[in-house]
């Protein structure tokens, strides 16, 4: 039963207030993109047993989407941040490195 802090309204929201939105930081590929890029965007997933960056919506709260860095095996949450981010904030990356030295996820490390 996860609790995630919504970076917009500051509420420590219980999972039942939230709606999961799958992998974060996906780059959209539209018309004209090649098959590899499109498949990567829509289907291929990191799905690591370890660090994961993911989308959540505070659906029953302020209604805003936000992103979270979470460990898929310990469920530790390294931080949450606004959906309007093209990459995780440095302090969150640092927090991850402290626990998972040399971690790599997609283009991030």
């Amino acid at each position: 039963m996860l609790t995630l802090q919504c970076p917009y309204c500051g509420v420590d929201a219980e999972e039942t207030e939230l709606q999961g939105g799958g992998e974060a930081h996906l780059k959209r590929f539209g018309p004209g993109s090649n098959d590899d890029d499109f498949e990567g965007y829509l289907f291929l997933r990191e799905n690591q047993k370890g660090i994961h960056f993911e989308r959540w919506r505070h659906a029953y709260g302020c209604g805003k989407w936000f992103l979270a860095a979470r460990h898929t095996n310990t469920l530790e949450v390294f931080g949450t941040y606004p959906a309007q981010s093209t990459e995780p904030p440095q302090h969150i990356k640092d927090a991850i490195s402290a626990k998972l030295p040399g971690w790599k996820w997609g283009n991030f490390s």
Binding site: L2, G30, D35, R57, A59
Partner: protein, 1003 residues
């Protein structure tokens, strides 16, 4: 025999007798009794039958760990199977019956299984019943099902109610023994919000029964003072009859509070399920005594030594007149002393340890009790109850040295800390070889959302068996938890516990250690599931070496007590058989709940009318009053049709359609989604959302639009109206309203966050009523107000105005092919407006129509319906909706996906109309068959029916479907299948069956 003593019984009130029945027998107990103590007080030694062999079973424990004494409790709507007599408080009028026997507890046919016991070893059913094949389902399995199953199935709906309760605290203490109370005291004094749960109705745990002294006084004194102090603290909540059922991630704890089980006459919910969020958890859950494995250890009258002490001290009940005590540790001596104190006979204490015990043994000897050191029990004599024991050398093979007559046996094989809650979320354990127990490893505690440890274990649950250590551990745990939760506790003087020093325990996993098969196959590990030492050894021999394999193969620990008594003994036997150290063999996983919790409590108040919300339109009341037959659509219930008198649904639908086509019909369309999209970039945004252009829609006009998922599949449709330069109003399907609004917000917040667009879901702001049919305009004109003429308000336009005194927004859109107005008024006036239309419409023969009429009429017009023509795999191109896909646009959601090879494949099935040759109605979901079979032997197909109805307008069946190259095959006759192997011929036709040129809607 077991009976009630003249004196003693600290928990009962002998001035308050209670009546109850067991198997119809009228029995007496006292207020404060547990059902177990009351049964024993009435010499009810046998209380049930075991699962596999149907062996006689008696009460073996005094708490939640009881594996044997399960009963059917109560009757009718209050009937409950498998209730533990040890955790059921007695109340006046209680009725209980024993389980798993036929015809009676005393005489049970199933007991013949015992005779074949030798032929029914662990896993026997994997090796038998294999031939002949049909026999398993028809003969073997039915027999096995009947003989299994324990309690009866309830036959009536639950007469009780339940509820949930969210609770937040800093420290949750689970267990109200002295360790838990000490922890609570320390945490409470720090100012932290503390919740203390005790599963029983009494505080203090074992301390009082064990005669512990604290600060020089009997433990009872300290417990009372502590409770008083805790009670006085604003920040501390004490709950008894509440079990910590489970520990979940991120500090989530389930508390299972039993409110009326002890007195069903009380008002209010039966159980309350607490959903607790806490920063820290202290599990002070105590320990459970282990049985010893000797032949006949399952015969009624053989009981855990501490349990026997409980019955004596707490309830004034003696289990036997002559009790032999058998042990491998000092604690059981307390039972012997208590029995003697109560004037009962203890013919011998059989101590498997060559040197025997310490202080307590000396005291026993001093009191004249015979102590047999280095001895064990070869076998227990008796069938339905103990008549005596044969003793032997523990280190031998069971040669009988002597026999002792007795009617009860008190056994103690040492203690196992209750580590369940510690382990639920991944807390790790260490094996303590000296005390022969698994103890929580504080350095490998469960971790929370910040990676911090969030469970601390204290007292006996942490492996401490001396009250002095238990108390210190409790205080420390409380202090540590409070600190971890952000408080600074003032270190206080810990109370000092004292109790007799004890000689070391000697691990004994089999008695005697050299027992042969005859004895091992009578030495029970799991009393309920009939698992014996020999079964575990067989599993190991056959290669079921993992502890999980052995468990599943023998079913040890899978009974309703989940192995509270059997797991460690079984594990030890397994490790011996594998010649591995116990920690290397490991434990099975601990899963919630600690003890079973009612399904009712899990559901809580969500039942009947509150099971799920039922969304209601402002006009629902009218529907209720006028014969609406509902169909669930999402959480709404929309009128399917309105039946009149004895009319069938089918006739009602037919009437509604014909009346709408010939006169005028009303449809409550309030459930349709309505989303405002506004901003400088709103047009650009909608162009991405819809397959067609919306940015160029003129103000005042309406346009039908399609929305696709990024996968290219058609997911919603509806009419969009341009309200002003910056504002559009998007209609969605009923089911789509919330989904599409969320979809819009997702793209605006996560992808195009720099676009200036705001959305608002105003679905429920309006009651929307469709006035449909040739006389619709007359009806509105009679209401009076705005001009609704063709000239001022032509087809596919909208206008604001006043109708019959109501502020209204009128859309000239049609989903039926008739002259049609969809009119939105403020929801608060929806009912009044409907009533106005209703009375004004009488002279025009107005009738309401429901969703089925809506569906049929749209099908007659060849309009597609999301969810019928689409199913998540259909793209607009399949539905010949190419005209609604902008060629100008570079991009829209789903466009890229639609370029994929399979989506662009010219061979996709496409939408057509279908007509049976005989006018009959094609079956729903029927497939068009093609020649031959595929590689997997399945009949090839070339299409399928997506919608099929009887059309009252045309007086024949009509259908729409997707057919391979359909649009190019007009007039061709193809065959559709029926579920009974038949086929129906149907002709491919234009999907528009009615008013092809659209003359009727455009007037």
């Amino acid at each position: 025999m077991s009976t009630r003593l003249a004196k003693g019984g600290r928990l009962i009130d002998s001035t308050k007798p209670l009546d109850f029945t067991f198997n119809g027998k009228r029995l007496k107990g006292y207020e404060g009794d547990s059902l177990a103590s009351a049964l024993l007080a009435n010499d009810q030694m046998m209380v049930g039958r075991s699962f596999k062999y149907h062996r006689p079973r008696g009460i073996v424990a005094s708490g939640a760990e009881e594996p044997n004494a399960l009963v059917n409790l109560g009757t009718g709507g209050k009937f409950e199977p498998n209730q533990r007599v040890t955790t059921q408080e007695l109340f006046d009028g209680l009725t209980a019956t024993s389980q798993n026997h036929w015809p009676s507890l005393e005489f049970d046919i199933g007991a013949v299984n015992q005779l074949f016991a030798r032929f029914l070893p662990a896993g026997f059913y994997y090796k038998m019943f294999i031939h002949p094949r049909p026999f398993w389902k028809h003969i073997y399995e039915p027999f096995i099902r009947q003989s299994a199953g324990l309690g009866k199935a309830p036959t009536e709906k639950d007469a009780d109610t339940y509820e949930h309760f969210y609770f937040y605290c800093d420290v949750a203490v689970i267990g109200g023994g002295i360790a838990g109370l000490a922890a609570a005291l320390e945490a409470g004094r720090s100012g932290a919000r503390v919740l203390v749960m005790e599963q029983e109705a009494h505080w203090g745990g074992r301390a009082v029964v064990d005669g512990v002294m604290i600060d020089g006084e009997p433990a009872e004194q300290w417990i009372d003072n502590t409770l008083a102090e805790l009670d006085a603290m604003e920040n501390v909540t004490l709950r008894e009859r509440m079990m910590g059922a489970g520990v979940y991630d991120h500090g989530y704890v389930l508390g299972y509070e039993r409110l009326t089980d002890h007195d069903p006459k009380l008002a209010g919910p039966r159980h309350r399920l607490w959903r607790i969020r806490t920063k820290q958890i202290v599990t002070a859950t105590g320990a459970i005594e282990r049985p010893l494995s000797f032949a006949g250890n399952d015969i009624p009258g053989v009981m855990l030594a501490a349990a026997m002490r409980d019955y004596l001290v707490n309830y004034g009940v003696s289990v036997g007149d002559r009790t032999v005590v058998v042990t491998n540790n000092d604690d059981a001596y307390r039972t012997a002393l208590a029995l003697v104190d109560a004037g009962l006979v203890v013919p011998a204490i059989i101590d498997a340890r060559p040197q025997g015990g310490g202080e307590l043994m000396e005291e026993a000897i001093a009191r004249g009790i015979r102590v047999e050191k280095g001895r064990g029990i070869a076998k227990v004599k008796g069938r339905a109850r103990v008549t005596g024991v044969a003793i032997c050398a523990q280190e031998g093979e069971g040669a009988v040295l002597a026999e002792i007559d007795c009617d009860a046996v008190a056994m103690s094989g040492g203690w196992s800390p209750v580590v369940h809650l510690w382990s639920h979320c991944g807390g790790k354990l260490n094996w303590d070889a000296d005390q022969a127990m698994f103890r929580p490893d504080a350095t490998r505690a469960p971790t929370g959302d910040k990676g911090q440890p969030f469970v601390i274990t204290a007292g006996t649950a942490n492996g401490h068996l001396y009250s002095a250590e238990v108390l210190v551990d409790g205080y420390t745990a409380g202090r540590t938890a409070a600190q971890a939760a952000g408080f600074t506790p003032a270190a206080t003087e810990a109370a000092v516990g004292e109790d007799a020093s004890q000689a070391p325990l000697l691990p004994i996993w089999l008695m005697p250690q050299g027992a042969g098969h005859a004895l091992k196959s009578k030495a029970w590990l799991d009393f309920q599931n009939d698992v014996k030492v020999s079964d575990i050894q067989l599993a190991a021999r056959e290669g079921y070496e993992s502890v999980e394999h052995a468990k599943r193969y023998t079913t040890i620990g899978m009974a309703t007590d989940q192995g509270k008594l059997s797991n460690i003994n079984g594990l030890a036997i397994l490790s011996q058989a594998l010649d591995e150290a116990i920690p290397n063999v490991g434990t099975t996983t601990f899963r919630p709940p600690y003890t079973p919790i009612s399904m009712g409590s899990i559901g809580g108040a969500a039942r009947d009318e509150l099971f799920q919300p039922i969304r209601k339109t402002p006009i629902q009341g009218w529907h209720d009053e006028n014969g609406a037959v509902y169909e669930p659509v999402g959480q709404w219930r929309r009128p399917y049709t309105f039946t009149r008198g004895g009319e069938s649904k089918h006739d009602a639908v037919k009437r509604e359609i014909l009346n709408t086509r010939n006169n005028v019909g009303l449809l409550d369309a309030s459930t349709l989604g309505k989303i405002i999209v506004k901003g400088p970039d709103a047009g650009k945004f909608l162009d991405m959302l819809y397959t067609n252009m919306m940015s160029n829609l003129p103000v005042g006009k309406c346009r039908y639009g399609l929305m696709c998922s990024e996968n290219g599949f058609l997911m919603d449709d509806g009419v969009v109206a341009r309200i002003d330069e910056e504002t559009w109003l998007c209609h969605t399907t009923t089911g789509g309203a919330d989904r599409i609004h969320g979809w819009m917000e997702d793209w605006l917040q996560c992808e195009w966050w720099d676009w200036k667009v705001y959305t608002a879901n105003v679905t429920e702001q309006y009651a929307q009523i469709a006035v449909v049919g040739p006389k619709g305009r007359q009806l509105l004109e009679k209401l009076g107000g705005m001009d609704v003429s063709k000239e001022t308000l032509p087809f596919m336009q909208w206008a604001d105005g006043v109708l019959g005194g109501f502020n209204a927004r009128v859309y000239r859109i049609s989903f039926s092919g008739e002259l049609s107005y969809e009119i939105a008024v403020p929801a608060s006036q929806g009912r009044a407006f409907w009533d106005a239309l209703w009375s004004a419409g009488q002279e025009f023969g107005v009738m309401p129509y429901g969703t089925e009429g809506l569906h049929v009429m749209r099908a007659e017009k060849g309009f597609i319906m999301i969810g019928d023509e689409t199913d998540g795999t259909v793209i607009p191109q399949d539905l010949n909706l190419g005209w609604a896909i902008s060629k100008k646009k570079e991009d829209y959601l789903g466009k890229r996906a639609q370029e994929r090879s399979h989506m662009a494949d010219p061979n996709r099935w496409k939408l057509v109309g279908l007509e049976t040759l005989d006018g009959s109605v094609l079956p729903d979901g029927s497939y068009a068959i093609a020649q031959g079979k595929n590689a997997n032997g399945q009949r090839n197909t070339q299409g399928r029916v997506t919608s099929t109805y009887y059309s009252p307008t045309l007086g024949r069946g009509i259908a729409m479907g997707l057919v391979h190259n359909g649009p190019d095959r007009m007039g061709e006759v193809i065959e559709f299948n029926t579920t009974n192997g038949g086929t129906i011929k149907a002709k491919i036709v234009d999907p528009v069956f009615y008013d092809k040129e659209g003359a009727k809607q455009n007037v």
